[in-house]
Amino acid sequence: MSTAALVQCRSVGKIFGGGRGQVTALENVSLDVAEGEFVTIVGASGCGKSTLLRAIGGLETHSSGDILVEGRAVQGPGSDRAMVFQNYSLYPWLSVADNIRFTRCLSAHTRDRTSSSVEAALGRAEALIRLMGLSHVREAHPNQLSGGMQQRVAIARALLSRPRILLMDEPFGALDAQTREVMHDLILHVSELERSTVIFVTHDVEEAIYLGKRVVLMAPRPGRIDSVYEVPLPAHRSQEMKQDPIFLRLRTQILDRIRETAGMKTDLDLLRKLSGAAAGTLG
């Protein structure tokens, strides 16, 4: 086997628009993700984390550099890179089970179909329904489910055809805190079982540390990789680790760095100066 990483981004650049309204969304982004790795990307809004993920997924073109998956340049979306979105991606007219089996009705998966592969796929759909705790709602429609249950369906659907990489774009961003914790342990459990390679974008630093083997911090204007943190916690995570001093220290470190890159430190300074000046005029 070659030692090359599964996903290789080499000085990827992305420019939106043209002329004076031109925005550099990504500049010189280089990132390798190894097979089986769980990488999280955090950063202030506008840092290009979603753009990078979508470029890897082929949903967005990049202006310069290369994105290679299994050594081949990415050209448009494909079933080897399944994506889980924040919301509105399920098909409301299909039942939970049919949503999860949706891939089976696409020609990409039926071209070389044999009866045994159909059986295997149906078995896999059943296994995923059970694994995700969806057995009791398998015939329900998505609009009858809570946000957390909907995201379980979305994850199961993305996993059905055994993608090489699972791309997750703030998948738990719309969920409440309790549901999110449950989903964290679920996705860790599933990715361990499936030995999935996951690239996970979030704005929640705690989520990024808890899930990621590595945390990639991106900075805005222009969107770029600022720093990468190895998470020095055991591979098998549990909720108590969130109280671990290592975890807390890393969280503070990353949060501070995000504030710096977003220019929030200077805003705070400015606020202090302004309020000082106001106090001066009042006094």
Partner: protein, 286 residues
């Protein structure tokens, strides 16, 4: 000051009020019981009828200006027994449905492409926007010149009145399909054709049925205009003819009949909507 006992707060319980009194009916966006709904709907229809009856029975207004409900009913009876009301209804329904169906036949695929591909949108949408502002009535002389004065010309007027609005509404329905639904299919390896058929079209179906229902209403409003074109039958024609003889009761009868047919068709569409898309109407029980 002693705390006031809770009994002084009757009727002002926080949260959702229980269906009692007028307060429940005046709570913003609060649901009302089916009984209240149907009672109010009946009231909404009966009140104008009562007002009309009263106004006409006082005799203060000349029957030429305002015939009573009974006069209209009598006229309707005559129309049925002597003037082939059934035939008028039949031909009018045929013209409206034909014009509307023809426009749906073209608007659905065209709207799908306008709403899905920016290139087709750029090519056709400004043109459609331009034409839809043109008054359908003004096309009558052209339609007579180009098509003639037979059935096809009436269908053509209804088509002209309906089609251009319908295309834009269909395109909008397609554009409203959430991008995440499309992109999810793309990352599952769906081809362009599969996304058109299995995602965009499937997702837009409920909205499309609503668009068809609404444009059916518009098609009916063009009926009288269409039957100005050398017609000798139909509800619209009957209204125009009655105008010539100052048969106000027949004008009333024709207008009310068109309203009743429209209401029936609208309800039929809603029923089909409930039957075809049960998941939209299902109660969350999980």
């Amino acid at each position: 000051m002693p705390p006031s006992p809770p009994s002084t707060h009757t009727g002002s319980t926080p949260g959702r009020p229980r269906g009692q009194g007028l307060r429940a009916l005046w709570t913003i966006r609060a649901p009302i019981s089916p009984r209240s709904y149907w009672a109010l709907a009946g009231l909404g229809l009966l009140l104008p009828l009562a007002a009309w009856t009263l106004l006409a029975s006082f005799g203060a207004i000349n029957k030429v200006f305002l015939p009573g409900p009974l006069d209209v009913l009598v006229r309707l009876g005559h129309w049925w027994s002597e003037d082939d009301l059934a035939g008028d209804i039949g031909i009018s329904v045929y013209r409206v449905v034909a014009g509307w169906a023809l426009s749906a036949l073209i608007a659905l695929p065209l709207g799908l492409y306008i709403g899905t591909f920016r290139s087709v949108q750029a090519l056709l949408e400004p043109l459609t926007d331009f034409i839809r502002y043109m008054p359908a009535v003004a096309f009558i002389p052209l339609v007579m010149l180009w098509i003639g004065i037979d059935e096809r010309s009436k269908v053509a007027i209804i088509f002209i009145g309906t089609f251009f609005q319908m295309v834009l509404m269909v395109a909008e329905d397609m554009r409203r399909v959430p991008t995440a639904q499309i992109e999810a299919a793309q990352t599952m390896g769906a081809t362009r054709g599969e996304i058109l058929e299995k995602v965009i079209l499937a997702s837009a179906k409920p909205a499309l049925l609503d668009t068809l229902r609404i444009t059916m209403g518009w098609a009916w409003t063009y009926l009288v205009v269409a039957e100005l074109v050398a017609a000798n039958s139909g509800l619209g024609y009957a209204i125009v003819k009655a105008q010539r003889f100052l048969q106000t009761d027949k004008i009333f009868a024709g207008i009310l009949l068109i309203g009743a047919i429209g209401l029936a068709i609208d309800q039929a569409f809603r029923l089909v909507h409930r039957l075809a898309f049960p998941w939209l109407h299902a109660r969350s029980g999980l």
